[in-house]
Symmetry: C2
Subunit: 456 residues, 2 copies
């Protein structure tokens, strides 16, 4: 049976694109943090939508689960295969079309990296507003499947807002395609929006029509150090209100900045700040003229570093962007990663509470906090925990839910948070998810074990 | 059976809120244009979400279809009841909450009018960016159920973009509620987005959390007359590109403007224009300073009228907004109304082609064209046709589909366009719609006959 399937898959994509060797498949079976490793029958790399559809049909016929995978940078183990499944890697579907200048749209294959789309947009005087630190590896399909957030949500919204239409293989192997690019098109249910955030459980996305925004003429970045968390959090509201050109508003803390500095052998622009906000504004004209008085009005500021030229902006950004990489190197075991939203008016209190909680439950562990604070979004990372011990994780998500927050701001539910979905979603909502899943995937072929809990 | 149901409904909402008299129910059974009239067992007016849920449960238990209805201003007969159904009118669910100033959000009952939400937002220094001429009657629930567009899509997008969360009664009578207002919240499928545009076929929306935009400090409106269609359409691209503050870009023609003038006993600001664009910009500072040079660069301009104070802006807007009302009064039979998107680069040609088509097929009829041209969205109205003769309608939607356009830009599919959905959507897509519908509404209780075609 298994051999029949592998032969059928090789027939579809060519034998070189069916990987079965344990060593070769390892990078496709292990998540980016190294915390999760799965088992699979094969990794298959289709080279076209038709091949992807034939792969899904072959797997469905054999009753073998399909795990869609893009860049494998997801942080909730959603692309880590379950035993016996076939990983469908979209990386060969990496065509990036021309920018349509009249609409500001572009069509890209699901396997194109975020960086490739950003580059194509930039070359045509436009910009793809979805951006995150994994941009060189994360794919169009993966960012859509997770409804990725990233740095510019505070101004431009999550990935869903930028998706005009998708092409996808449904679990029965049929292909839906709606890439015409019409922005006003109320002809039926929003399938593209539904696939967005479905984490590979409803369809294999093969291509997407994406909306671009005009290129940024200039930008300015400020790293602002505060005496404490309360002062940093208190600054978020005024910054959002007073800076219409606000493109990013990120929060980091002294310990994270120190760790990044150590890893890079670099010194932070200033010392003595307990909490720091990275503020980016973008637009035209003299951006500093608008930014300076707003920064001057903030309370509890220790020091500020400002940049307006590209390389210096990047330099300041690295104090934020390198967090994920650096934390991944701390200690002998992979970090436990949680990504949560807390209502802005609870954020300061939450930081204190989560610190106390981790100190109490795991005195030897280290807590790292950083994130897209402008959206109330914090990444809660804990290093020094046993990989399988989820006591701290559970306590944190319960604290989040109790604070009126979301246990997954942007990373999704995946396998990692599936047991906790009920903390945010009622039985009625989960039943609705399950109904939709069962309707589109009655045989449970696509990414079983991810996102949607079993029917009770 | 029927009497049992009516008694049960009266038990839930009180006898005064179960309307059965033919005369009393007539306005709920007839659509805004007067073209469609349906039959129903009763109109029921729940006063709370719990009552709405109990009404749906009672109808489901009796196997009686439920037709959700808000302001009944929809233009595709989606709220016109099928024989034997119960209309659930949401108009009593009209509570409008306080604006949350830290997030710029508001919670409103499904029965609140657009105007009521706009007023509450304005009173708090914010703005609800969804706006359309039916604002005094159209409801929050109806605009969400149709994913309404309106005047400001060119800048702010359709209704879906403004919906942060919804509360709804599902077809099984269960209630889902996600009104916490977190913008970053990737915890499961996008139920709110799916209900948006579902036209009452998946759930009865009872309330919504809506995102507001900052209030507009100032606005300027220009009515620009062109020598012909080609010149007006050619101006759309440059206006969109060069006016970042563009809030609305509407197209009308000489005959429509003349009809509005006649109905109002008013003279248009100037004569001699074959096609006119209404341009609105909003922001702060001297808006005319930005607008004037852009207008001056346009080709084929006959004359321009500009306004910056509120009443004069409204005055110019009426030359566009009054079209729907005025056309509704023309002739003895209701207009046939189609609402379509055509790719911008095909729009000029489409105007010529649709004129030739209607002149050819129905020489005695009159064609009225107007719409949100900035989005490629045209309303195609035809007066003087027999109510049931759809020869012209069919030819127009076929022309639209053949031009790469959408047969429903913003009004939805409803009953009116359901036979033509296949012109825009493949069998695979329609099968996916049907699967979703059957999953959430296996008994087919909610708005049967609307939007989703039967399984073949
Ligand atoms: C350094 C770093 C920084 C990050 N920063 C952010 C951030 O700021 N914001 C944020 O939101 N996320 C962030 N992430 C996580 C984020 O989810 C991923 O970067 C990205 O969205 C996943 O894309 P991918 O192609 O790697 O998908 P994968 O990891 O391959 O897959 C992720 C999920 O999507 C599914 N999937 C993938 N491709 C498809 C497809 N074609 N069709 C259907 N399903 C598919 C998978 O089954 C899986 O469930 C970060 C990750 C890293 C490592
Ligand atoms: C003068 C005029 C101008 C218009 N201009 C525009 C425009 O610019 N842009 C635009 O997009 N539309 C426009 N429309 C049409 C538009 O669809 C409606 O104005 C509006 O969106 C419908 O709201 P309503 O409350 O009247 O809904 P209804 O007409 O009552 O219902 C419309 C559909 O939504 C469903 N529905 C209603 N309430 C609920 C609920 N609570 N839960 C679930 N389903 C529900 C109904 O079953 C039906 O299918 C216009 C209409 C008129 C008369």
């Amino acid at each position: 049976m298994a051999d029949d399937l592998l032969a059928a898959l090789a027939e579809v994509v060519g034998a070189t694109h069916v990987l079965t060797d344990e060593g070769t498949t390892l990078p496709f079976r292990t998540d980016w943090t190294g915390r999760w490793t799965g088992e699979c029958r094969a990794v298959v790399r289709p080279g076209s939508t038709a091949e992807a559809a034939a792969v899904v049909r072959a797997c469905a016929a054999a009753g073998v689960p399909v795990v869609p995978q893009g860049g494998n940078t997801g942080l909730v183990a959603g692309s880590v295969p379950a035993v016996g499944s076939v990983v469908v890697s979209t990386r060969r579907l990496d065509a990036v079309g021309e920018v349509d200048d009249s609409t500001g749209q572009i069509t890209a294959g699901a396997g194109a990296t975020l960086a490739a789309v950003q580059a194509a947009a930039a070359a045509a005087g436009w910009r793809y507003a979805v951006d995150l630190a994994a941009r060189d590896t994360a794919t169009v399909g993966g960012t859509i499947a997770t409804n990725a957030g990233g740095h510019h949500v505070v101004r431009h919204g999550m990935t869903r807002r930028h998706v005009v239409g998708v092409e996808a293989v449904l679990p029965d192997g049929s292909v839906i395609s709606h890439l015409g690019g019409l922005v006003k098109d109320n002809t039926g249910y929003d399938l593209a929006g539904l696939l967005c955030g479905s984490e590979g459980t409803l369809g294999v996305i093969t291509a997407a029509r994406l909306a671009l925004v005009p290129a940024v003429e200039q930008r300015a970045v400020a790293l602002v150090g505060f005496t404490g968390t309360a002062a940093a959090v208190a600054a978020i509201g005024p910054l959002r209100r007073r800076l219409p050109a606000l493109e990013a508003l990120e929060l980091v803390f002294a310990d994270g900045v120190a760790a990044v500095g150590e890893a890079r052998g670099a010194r932070p622009p200033f010392d003595g700040a307990a909490a720091l906000l990275l503020v980016e504004v973008a637009g035209s004209g003299d951006l500093l003229e608008g930014l300076a008085p707003v920064l001057a009005d903030l309370d509890g500021v220790v020091d500020t570093a400002v940049a307006t030229d590209g390389p210096r902006c990047e330099e300041l950004w690295r104090w934020r962007d390198d967090h994920t990489d650096v934390i991944n190197q701390v200690g002998d075991t992979p970090p436990h990663k949680l990504d949560v939203t807390v209502p802005l008016d609870r954020l300061g209190r939450f930081v204190e509470e989560v610190r106390a909680l981790v100190a109490d439950l795991a005195p030897a562990a280290r807590l790292w906090l950083f994130g897209h604070a402008g959206d109330g979004n914090l990444h809660v990372n804990v290093t020094g925990l046993a990989p399988d011990d989820e006591t701290v994780d559970r306590a944190v998500v319960e604290l989040v839910a109790g604070s009126g927050g979301s246990i997954s701001a942007e990373h999704g539910i995946g396998r990692a948070k599936r047991p906790w979905l009920h903390l945010n979603r009622t039985p009625e909502e989960i039943a609705a998810f399950r109904s939709i899943k069962d309707a589109l995937d009655p045989a449970g072929i696509l990414n079983p074990g991810v996102l949607v809990p079993e029917r009770r």
